[in-house]
């Protein structure tokens, strides 16, 4: 597990982002165990208090849940998972839209290009 953090954004947000990505991509399955806080801090080489903060935030957002004296687990709540995926997509689209903002391009022109891109991505995956 290696993550390169940037130095100007709060680390706890970067840790959360990292886990959200693992969840939406299915690399972490619903109900799966999370690493312990200490273990994660050690692996990512970051401050344990920061990991604690990230976990608390994720608990608040119900992405993970923790029973006393047990490791935290990824949520199995379909509503939360759906919400996370939507949020992720919304975020990505916002970024995409703002990136193409300077270009004068219509939706009709854009759709085939997107389809093309999606196809090649699927090919690359195979």
């Amino acid at each position: 597990m290696t993550v390169s953090f940037n130095k100007r954004d709060p680390i706890y947000l970067q840790v959360m982002h990292y886990f959200k990505r693992l969840i939406v991509s299915g690399e972490l399955l619903p109900g799966e165990e999370m690493p312990s806080r200490r273990q994660l801090a050690n692996e990512l080489k970051i401050n344990p208090n920061t990991v604690q903060r990230a976990y608390s935030e994720m608990e608040e957002q119900r992405l993970i849940h923790t029973e006393p004296n047990r490791p935290s687990r990824i949520t199995e709540d379909p509503v939360v998972l759906e919400q996370l995926k939507n949020e992720w997509l919304k975020q990505a689209m916002t970024t995409f839209i703002s990136a193409i903002q300077p270009l004068d391009i219509s939706l009709n022109e854009l759709v085939p290009l997107l389809e093309e891109k999606m196809k090649t991505r699927k090919k690359d995956d195979k």
Partner: protein, 229 residues
């Protein structure tokens, strides 16, 4: 909590500490950063009652430093402090003899973590391994606070990585850590609190994560502003 209140210290006519006040909390890693000068080391020495101060107060959980507190606060200076003629094993025995908080099990763990050979004589160790022996003597104590002076100075990159690992490992656990350094880059992600020091004064004291969250600045950004501005 280690608390310094208005600490002054002179060496002859030279003011080394000119009204220093800050706190280092338990379960936090506090980093004393200064570009140069003797101030940082003097602060740690003064906390450990290894050098007198001219004015001010230093307390550890509300108490002044005294003999028994050395069981609760460990100091790892950046010079070798065990007898050069001792083997690592003998040095560990020496610690065990005097410190009620010496944790033999953890000591063994640290020896393995640093890949030290306990039958080696200290004087024959490389600088990096001497630094590791120093760390071993401090980290194997079940203390509430650990003070480290320039743990990264003058050692090779691999040792540096190992020492960096210590901060996020079980070896530090929930203890309060106070370290001094002039090279913050490697450990920016590891520390909670930063205390910027120059010319015997404190320029800024802040929480690194809060600084990133509220001002979007890295620790180095803040240092640049403070020291260049």
């Amino acid at each position: 909590m280690i608390e310094l209140k208005n600490v002054h210290k002179r060496f002859g006519r030279k003011k080394v500490l000119d009204g220093i006040s800050f706190t280092a909390n338990k379960s936090e890693i506090t980093c004393l950063v200064g570009v140069n000068g003797v101030g940082k080391t003097t602060i740690l020495n003064a906390i450990m009652n290894l050098t007198p101060i001219n004015k001010g107060d230093i307390t550890i959980d509300g108490k002044k430093m005294h003999a028994n507190l050395y069981n609760k606060v460990a100091f790892i200076p950046d010079v070798a402090i065990m007898l050069p003629s001792m083997t690592v094993h003998e040095a560990m025995d020496f610690m065990k003899d005097y410190y009620s908080t010496w944790n033999s099990k953890r000591a063994k763990e640290i020896v393995r973590f640093f890949r030290l050979n306990i039958s080696d004589t200290i004087s024959e160790l490389s600088k990096g391994n001497q630094a590791k022996v120093n760390l071993l003597m401090g980290l194997a104590l079940d203390v509430d606070y650990i003070l480290m002076d320039e743990p990264f100075s003058g050692i090779d990159i691999f040792t540096r990585e190992q020492i960096t690992d210590v901060f996020s490992s079980r070896l530090v656990e929930d203890r309060g850590v106070l370290i001094t350094t002039h090279e913050i880059m490697d450990i920016e992600h590891l520390i909670d609190k930063v205390v910027l020091l120059d010319n015997g004064k404190i320029y800024k004291e802040f929480n690194a994560e809060e600084m990133r969250e509220t001002e979007g600045k890295s620790v180095v950004d803040v240092m640049r502003e403070v020291y260049n501005g």
